[in-house]
């Protein structure tokens, strides 16, 4: 009896165990299947609930926007259906934002460029790409209602001594004073960013206004008038070199002081940041000159892209972000960073405000702005500037020593191709010097219109082998530029190496002396790329210093972006 009861128990336990194991197995199979066969409908609906908002921002406000977004994300807000409201950031130039959206390749749902003018351009170009919109119809806008959280006027930043020599503070200083000084004084060094940034566009617009002899009503016809174009070309010849956006320029000014540039175009906020030590101890005080003829405002709009894929929750996140940026704490932080906050109840002279004359700025300025023409006139200005800007003679000096083998060389090749692709005008002259144990190949300087195929073919065929005759290669390029003696153009060498000099005939000392001597008559700027951790940084630094150039560090991952940045200098 007892034995039978024991058997029953065993059978019972066995059945229950099998049932439970089946249940467990079934659950595991179900979980696996549900994960692997998630239908497109489920994905689409899940995507349609997302509250993660990606915002593209322009580089000059990286510090403040990153800090604010970090605070926003730390709040861990959720939508009513419990989706996390997160903001992700993407840094890119305003021009890139426009290009990506129009190409349908944008991975962001909101954007905050340096100026509203990019939003206008985006709207107009997008509308033009849609079904023919008759003038007068109510056209759709791709960009939603923009909000502003920080504004700052664009100014001419000059060292105090330079500002005084231009007449500040007794006399009004404007675009014409700057342009006249640059044309009269060959030693005067000034720079403005390319028209891919609001500050560069403003400086260029000011030249077109002055060239056309008007202070408003600039039309496409006036901008293309030969007299205007001639004037702009003459002024552009005085630009030392172009380059990156204002942030990179002011960082360099902090490092090199007045020897770098006498004046440059930046936003007022960067002048404040500079004078308050955000970039290290200032070598001298910068003064913000508010152009008498008028300026523009970098108004940092924040707007949504009204695309069909925008979810209701992303709209909620945008609204939450907008409210967060408008909070007194955020606005105070914005003021402390040197911007003028959008909240008008915060006085610019409130306690602790850095917007004070001691920091080189005047909160009651500017008195007037330049008239911002319509987008098609702006587009004409951008195109004409590309043709009238100071042209370049640039030699690419490329290391193909044995240490470059493998992915290092492949990435360098991609970077060189990017460099060529980024140079907008075929009138720029580009040549190439390839070196390893000695100079192994030279493509002579010629316009890209003629040289592009040869350069591209040579880049495709680069093979890594041998030692590193860096100095001989630089000397080859330098002597060629000196021989051309073309002072009308910017003359430059972009040299890249990943190793240590070990095969040249010329010594560093000798080459530096030659560069210093030659640059007295024809300045040639040497941009050096230290590629990887083994690059001979000291040698590159010596070459850059001798030519008022710069050394940039690159890795296989960043080399392509670095060459893209360097292309903006030409």
């Amino acid at each position: 009896m007892r034995r039978m009861s024991k058997q029953r128990t065993v059978i019972f336990i066995g059945v229950m165990g099998i049932l439970l194991l089946c249940c467990l197995g079934g659950i595991l199979v179900w979980v696996g299947v549900s994960r692997s066969t998630t239908t497109s409908t489920e994905t689409a609906v899940a995507d349609s609930r997302t509250a993660t908002l990606t915002v593209a921002y322009s580089p000059e406000k990286a510090a403040i926007i990153r800090s604010l977004i970090e605070q926003f994300n730390a709040q861990k807000l959720r939508t009513p259906d419990r989706q996390p409201m997160q903001v992700q950031l993407l840094e890119m130039t305003p021009e890139e934002m426009v290009t990506q959206v129009l190409a349908g390749a944008a991975t962001f749902q909101a954007l905050t460029p340096d100026s509203s003018l990019w939003l206008d351009q985006l709207n107009q170009r997008w509308a033009a790409s849609q079904a023919a919109a008759e003038p007068g119809t109510i056209r759709p806008n791709l960009v939603g209602e923009a909000v502003r959280y920080a504004v700052t006027p664009i100014v001419i930043a000059a060292w105090e001594e330079t500002a005084r020599s231009l007449g500040w503070p007794q006399q009004p200083v404007g675009w014409q004073s700057l342009q006249a000084r640059a044309q009269q004084d060959p030693g005067f060094k000034w720079s403005h960013p390319s028209t891919a940034h609001a500050s560069g566009l403003l400086a260029t617009l000011a030249e077109f206004y002055a060239g056309a002899g008007v202070q408003r009503g600039l039309t496409a016809e006036l901008a293309q008038d030969p007299k205007t174009v001639e004037f702009v070309a003459a002024v552009e010849k005085t630009v030392r070199y172009y380059g990156e956006a204002e942030l990179a320029v002011i960082q360099r000014a902090a490092k090199e002081g007045p020897a770098y540039l006498d004046a440059f175009i930046v936003s007022e906020q960067l002048v404040v940041a500079f004078n308050t030590g955000a970039f290290g101890k200032p070598p001298a005080r910068l003064v913000a000159l508010y152009p008498a003829e008028g300026t523009l405002w970098a108004d940092h709009p924040l707007a949504l892209l009204e695309t069909p894929t925008l979810t209701a929750n992303q709209r909620r996140t945008f609204q939450a972000l907008r409210e967060f940026l408008a909070r007194p704490e955020s606005q105070t932080k914005i003021l402390q960073a040197g911007y003028r906050p959008a909240d008008l109840s915060i006085p610019l002279d409130s306690p602790g405000s850095p917007l004070i004359p001691a920091n080189g700025v005047d909160p009651l300025q500017p008195q007037t702005t330049l008239q911002l023409p319509s987008w098609d006139v702006v587009a004409v200005v951008q195109n004409v500037w590309t043709l009238t800007k100071r042209k370049t003679n640039v030699f690419l000096v490329v290391d193909t020593s044995g240490s470059m083998r493998g992915s290092k060389l492949a990435n360098a090749q991609a970077a060189l191709r990017t460099f060529l692709a980024q140079i907008p005008s075929d009138q720029e002259r580009v040549g190439m010097v390839e070196f390893n144990s000695s100079v192994v190949n030279i493509i002579e300087l010629d316009t890209l219109a003629r040289n592009r195929p040869a350069l591209t073919a040579e880049i495709d065929q680069l093979v890594a082998n041998g030692n590193t005759a860096l100095l001989d290669a630089v000397r080859t390029a330098y002597s060629r530029l000196q021989r051309y003696g073309d002072s009308e153009r910017i003359n430059a060498i972009v040299v890249m190496t990943d190793g240590r000099e070990n095969a040249s005939q010329v010594s560093l000392r000798q080459l530096v002396a030659e560069i210093r001597d030659g640059n007295q008559t024809l300045p040639v700027v040497i941009f050096c790329v230290a590629y990887g951790s083994d690059a001979d940084y000291e040698v590159l630094q010596a070459l850059a210093s001798a030519s008022n150039g710069q050394v940039r560090e690159g890795t296989p991952e960043t080399i392509r972006d670095l060459y893209k940045v360097l292309s903006s200098y030409f």
Partner: protein, 446 residues
Amino acid sequence: MTLAPILGTLAGGLIAIGLSIYFWIATARGGRRTQAVFFLILGVVLLVVSAGLGWQQLGPGNPEPLVATPRGPVQVRVLTALPVEPWVREAAQRFNQGNFRQDGQPIEVQVIAMDGLTALGKFDRDDFGTLGDRSREELTPQERERLETTFPTVWIPDSRYLVELANAVYKERLGRDVFLTDGEYRARPIAISLFTWGIYQSRAEVLEKKFGEINWRTIHDAAVAKGGWPELGGDPAWGFFKLVVPNPRRNVGGLAAMIAAAGEYYDRTNISVADVTDPAFQKWLGELMAALTDVSGASAYTAEDFALFGYSVGDGGQLLESDLLNNMAGIQTRWADPLVIRYPKYLTWFDFPFSIWIGPETTAAEKNAALQFQRFLLTTEIQRLAVQQGLRAVNNEVSVTEGDTLFTRWQSQGVEAVVPRTTRMASPSRDVLLALLRWFDLNVGR
């Protein structure tokens, strides 16, 4: 997704624990302890699996079940004209916190800022996606999801005539109105405001000294002064006279300003297509618009911009009274030059009608929830809030001069509680609006 796996594992776990207890009791009677331990472990494992599945499906941050049945609060999405958006948004926040319910469900009001003309364009193009001949049941899950999360329940445009224009479009497309003009769900004004001149005091003094009165004709004369402010008797540092008019592509106030200018040019309140296409008028308007600082389409050129960028972008212009009042203090703080307000000869009023979409795209619950919000906006408390933000109340119990309001605070700068002039510009027809937009596109915006 389903709750079956969670419930299954939970039940299995509980059964196993139950068996474990059974065998513990049996152990006391001489059974084996290993059986009890086995079922205890199995039970715990199943409970853990159940909890894991529950967290995966119902935990925070995970996708909710598909949208087969409506859940959560009744959504009221309100497309709101820019001038009343801050007020409506604040009211919505209070409403959402106020435990209002519709059919037992809480109500969530979501405010979407959109200029009246932009919204009209979206209705024109059917961008929001009406059902047409289809019923809700015929929609795909994605279409239904989109309808339930994005279709506007309410539109508050700047002016009633925009509602009429939208209705005209839908009458042609669907054969019926989508916003009612009478009955319980009719479009009802929730606040009013009017266009006034707002000019920096330093500049107004110079203009009034030279021209006597500020109106569209004298502003035109200032705009065409070739020598700029020095020719008008002002400071050379001020540059040229700079006019502030909202861009009509971004702000319906821009069209209102152009129509008001036409009214003073012709000295009458009814403007026709023939009037706005007259070459002499267009030349005059072109000269006036040449004084705009920003002729690009980016800026809505609200009074907020005017305050933010100060006299550097505009000396003065015709803007909505409420917008100007809201920014008076900020302008003084930021630019140390106060603004003065002057009332024009012909008045343009905006009445911000609260218009509930009555088509099948919104549910009865949503419509009724919207109606609750409308009543809330008309309460004395919320109407007082409107006055605090520079709007004129439509609720007769609320006075613009009761207590410390923007109307009493800025009397010294020319604000009048009772508008001194009463001649009102007539609402423009769609053809007049489109003719002006066409002129702007061809002559100013391009």
